[in-house]
């Protein structure tokens, strides 16, 4: 017998979808909010017909049947409209009648993500829940000769330096001779990493900037935020708040025109300029802003036509090599601001990190190095890049730091580490570990989205549609109908909460180590791990 519906090779059953919608007919009031809020139209109102047989016991009467119809929710099985598990439907349901559920075994969709021969692109994270950073323990506790410090009572200096630091001899020489020294900023070691205006919605951006400003001006915490590639809103460029901002310029130079135009009118210098060469979550790919999100505002800001995808090239065509690119771009950015602003490159952690670092050491202008490991989030990239490319941050950072130590330069080029920090929620512990492995500061992006704006993405491939402009929370969308969901004031409040609690946790970690008057950069004797190979690789203690 033929089936009544057409079955194509890529027809999926509900069972094949990773996210299942559980809908309760008994409590649903059919208000329709869930279908209205679903960002991907995975559910629709459905009309169901039901036939009931009535067979009475005994021979005399023939069985009868009746037909009824009822209304309910139908989940679509077309891969293009599959449920992403965001649970927005649950959030808006007045009766808790609907919720997504993860199906443990659901491989089929993997093979049908490439409609039209296009491999899947997605935003989000690596879908790998383990984290080496979470395995690190702090083992040096002052107890024998000394009392541990009191995290609440003692003064703590949790600040770091961004900018090239001269060796003491040279600094003193410059002091005596009144010579030029590279600009240095004192900042908080937790930086909000580059998420571009374009990737993020205007409301999200506003919320982050407001939060950072509040931290600086009201709480005395010198937090900084990187703009990400793709420029900066002209009004912000000309405002006093730009000093809390690290301007990111990428090899694609998107948004650079706006910045140049603003320079003569800028009231304040930006905190620093970050030249982006790579992002750890999609190394070598460069940014990928997909056409869905390139609306009028974004196209104006970036100087590109509307509605085209914007993959930024890993390096610009005018650059012969990375060394040349680094050298030239650093030089020209320094000149743009009269040698008053630190300029540094950010690269994806890779086997060539050391080569870049060694070039920077010899470049008297290079202000720092950002290394970004594989576990970070991304606004958009090909599935294969997110899942399978990149270098873990811990060992890459450690290599970089020890390389500087061997040259006696560990004070001079601060290393900013990123990639998967706090991916399982342990932000302070992960950050403290990286600092003890040699980072001068850490940068987080994904964590901020999750903690400050309620991003629902997870390491289980939940949501992860940042790239198509349908972000259910309004974080990564350029569509006002969606991003109106996000209240910038509330985001700002959460940013402040995140920083303040981070600050307390950092003190709680440093106090028993006896460390309070400067950041324990490179204090590797405080770290231990129960994995022999990892201990050896990171040159820390093996503890079981």
């Amino acid at each position: 017998m033929q089936p009544t519906a057409g079955l194509a090779p890529s027809s999926l059953s509900l069972k094949d979808l990773p996210w299942q919608i559980d809908w309760d007919i008994h409590t649903c009031t059919l208000c329709g909010r869930c279908t209205a809020v679903c960002p991907v139209n995975a559910i629709e109102l459905g009309v169901f017909r039901k036939r009931e047989l009535h067979a009475k016991p005994g021979i005399p009467e023939k069985p009868t049947n009746t037909y009824t119809i009822y209304h309910g929710i139908r989940q679509r099985t077309d891969p293009a409209y599959r449920c992403i598990g965001c649970a927005m439907c649950n959030m808006v349901c007045p009766n808790n009648s609907i919720r997504p559920r993860k199906l443990a075994e659901s491989p089929m969709l993997w093979y049908h993500h490439n409609r039209g021969g296009q491999p899947r692109t997605r935003g989000g994270r690596r879908n790998e829940s383990g984290s080496l950073l979470d395995q690190l323990k702090f083992i040096r506790i002052s107890m024998l000769t000394d009392p541990a410090l009191d995290a609440g009572r003692h003064e703590f200096e949790l600040k770091t330096l961004l900018g090239r630091i001269l060796p003491p001899e040279e600094e003193l020489k410059a002091l005596k001779e009144n010579g030029w020294t590279p600009p240095v900023r004192e900042i908080y070691p937790l930086i909000i990493g580059g998420m571009s205006f374009g990737a993020l919605s205007p409301n999200m951006w506003e919320g982050l900037i407001m939060g950072v400003t509040y931290l600086n001006e009201e709480m005395g915490i010198p937090a900084r935020i990187s703009t990400g590639e793709g420029g900066c809103p002209p009004r912000l460029l000309r405002s006093r708040f730009i000093k809390y901002v690290i301007l990111q310029i990428a090899s694609g130079y998107f948004g650079w025109d706006e910045i140049i135009r603003a320079i003569p009118e800028m009231q304040e210098d930006p905190c620093a300029v970050e030249i982006k060469y790579g992002q750890g979550a999609k190394p070598g790919d460069g940014g990928l802003l997909m056409w869905y999100k390139v609306n009028k505002l974004i196209s104006a800001l970036r100087g590109v036509p509307q509605g085209v995808s914007l993959p930024s090239p890993p390096t610009h065509q005018t650059k012969y090599s990375i060394e040349e690119a680094v050298a030239k771009m650093i030089q020209s950015m320094y000149m743009a601001w009269g040698f008053r602003v630190p300029v540094y490159p950010k690269i994806s952690a890779s086997s060539t990190s050391l080569a870049v670092l060694n070039n920077l050491v010899r470049n008297p202008y290079a202000a720092a190095l950002g290394v970004d490991g594989e576990d970070g989030g991304t606004g958009a990239a090909y599935n294969v890049s997110i899942n399978h490319m990149g270098h873990p941050i811990a060992s890459n950072l450690r290599d970089c730091y020890l390389n500087l130590v061997a040259q006696g330069r560990q004070n001079e080029i601060p290393i900013i580490a990123g990639g998967g920090i706090g991916k399982n929620g342990n932000l302070a512990a992960n950050a403290a570990s990286l600092i003890m492995l040699g980072a001068s500061a850490v940068q987080v992006g994904k964590y901020m989205m999750q903690a400050a704006a309620g991003c629902v993405g997870s390491e289980a491939d939940r949501c992860n549609i940042c790239n198509i402009g349908l972000c259910p929370k309004g974080i990564t969308s350029q569509d006002p109908r969606i991003y109106r969901r996000l209240d910038p004031e509330k985001v700002a409040e959460r940013v402040v909460d995140v920083y303040l609690s981070f600050d307390t946790e950092m003190r709680k970690i440093f106090a028993p180590l006896g460390r309070s008057t400067s950041l324990p950069i490179g204090m590797s004797d405080a770290l231990g791990i129960a994995d022999k190979d990892a201990a050896e690789r990171l040159q820390i203690k093996y503890v079981v």
Partner: protein, 376 residues
């Protein structure tokens, strides 16, 4: 917590004064070692101020080898003071051999060298002896420097002093730094015993330096001969002092700014703000942490005491013109200089450095909030 006692006197005095003070302070402390650094020597050594003195502990074979290697490079022994114990060692002290301090005439090749060059030759010679001594187990060398004598041993300070006969009338000095060592985080090792000495710069500390690893890594990468070893986490203090004074050419008043810089708020109103901010940034790797009382002595004989930023360790300075002492506890000071004006005793707080200059006339208090001497 280790006991610290140091003394600076116009006229040479016996180190027993310091040992006594340590003994008075001893309380609940297990006497796991004693270290002594004597400078501004009197007695026979006082007559040969320019001659480098080698101090250390040598076995029979070590003594022979020492004569050999020193002769090889033309070091000519001038005067030796040995402490060869006649009695069995006190409990806890191993039997080691001869405790020697030997002054040398320097080889012709070294004469006429610039002071820095000469200093490097001294240091290299000491390091060479120390390394080969460690390999062959025949010598432990603590210093090789003019007008300086060092003694280190494991055990109770008083018993060790009696065992070695440190009450020798020829053994007198103007600056004495002594530490009664308590337990440590590390294995007991004579090289880990305070005070630490390098090229005329000496310091000792009680407490713990939690920033030890990064500071050690930094110092070790500075390319200065002698920044090595580091068996104690406080050894870095002596090297930071050496680095500040010898390498960076800064006055003693700057040392505290290097190890415990002011906060930004404190710097805001400071007359030397600009310089100090930059110094703080450049020397960030040398910021110490953890509770410490640091006592030190410079090549010119100045002696000082300062505290870590949190001031979690006691320390007191007092005395009378002609003799001043720095002690980790008042009872030590009372024992050594009972007839001083106790109302002038000073306990440095978290911003202070208490300095007694070589003339031994007064205690100068230098606060980090004050203006600093000019950079020169």
């Amino acid at each position: 917590m280790c006991r610290l006692f140091s003394l600076t006197s116009r006229d040479p005095v016996s180190p027993m004064l310091a040992i006594n003070a340590l003994n008075v302070m001893k309380e609940g402390h297990d006497g796991s070692g004693v270290g002594l650094c004597l400078r501004g020597l009197g007695g026979p050594f006082g007559e040969m101020k320019e001659a480098p003195i080698l101090s250390g502990i040598f076995t029979e074979a070590g003594l022979k080898r020492l004569s050999q290697v020193s002769a090889d490079i033309g070091l000519d022994p001038k005067y030796s003071m040995t402490f060869t114990p006649k009695t069995p060692p006190p409990p806890g002290t191993p039997k080691r051999g001869t405790y020697l301090a030997r002054a040398f005439d320097i080889p012709d090749a070294w004469k006429g060298l610039a002071p820095e060059e000469l200093a490097r030759e001294y240091t290299r010679f000491r390091l060479m002896l120390r390394t080969t001594g460690e390999e062959q187990g025949d010598m432990q060398v603590f210093s090789f420097w003019p007008d300086t004598l060092m003694v280190k041993e494991v055990g109770d300070p008083m018993e060790v002093a009696a065992y070695l006969g440190l009450d020798n009338k020829d053994l007198v000095a103007r600056q004495i730094l002594a530490q009664g060592r308590q337990n440590t985080n590390y294995a007991i090792n004579l090289y880990a015993c305070h005070p630490f000495f390098i090229q005329g710069v000496c310091s000792m500390t009680n407490g713990e330096n939690t920033a030890f690893i990064p500071i050690r890594e930094y110092l070790a990468s500075r390319g200065v001969d002698g920044y090595c070893g580091y068996q104690s986490d406080s050894e870095v203090f002596a090297h930071i002092l050496h680095y500040t004074v010898n390498r960076l050419g800064l006055d003693l008043e700057y040392y505290k700014h290097v190890i415990t810089p002011l906060t930004n708020e404190e710097l805001d109103g400071h007359p030397d703000r600009e310089n100090l901010v930059r110094l703080k940034q450049a020397c960030r790797k040398l910021v110490i942490d953890g509770p410490n009382c640091v006592i030190g002595c410079l090549p010119d004989g100045s002696m000082f005491m300062c505290q870590d930023r949190k001031k979690l360790r006691p320390g007191v300075v007092g005395g009378k013109p002609g003799v001043f002492a720095f002690s980790s506890e008042i009872c030590g000071l009372n024992a050594a200089i009972p007839d001083r004006d106790t109302s002038k005793d000073f306990q440095p707080m978290h911003l202070d450095t208490a300095i007694v200059r070589p003339d031994c006339q007064e205690v100068t208090i230098c606060s980090q909030l004050q203006a600093l001497p000019h950079l020169h």
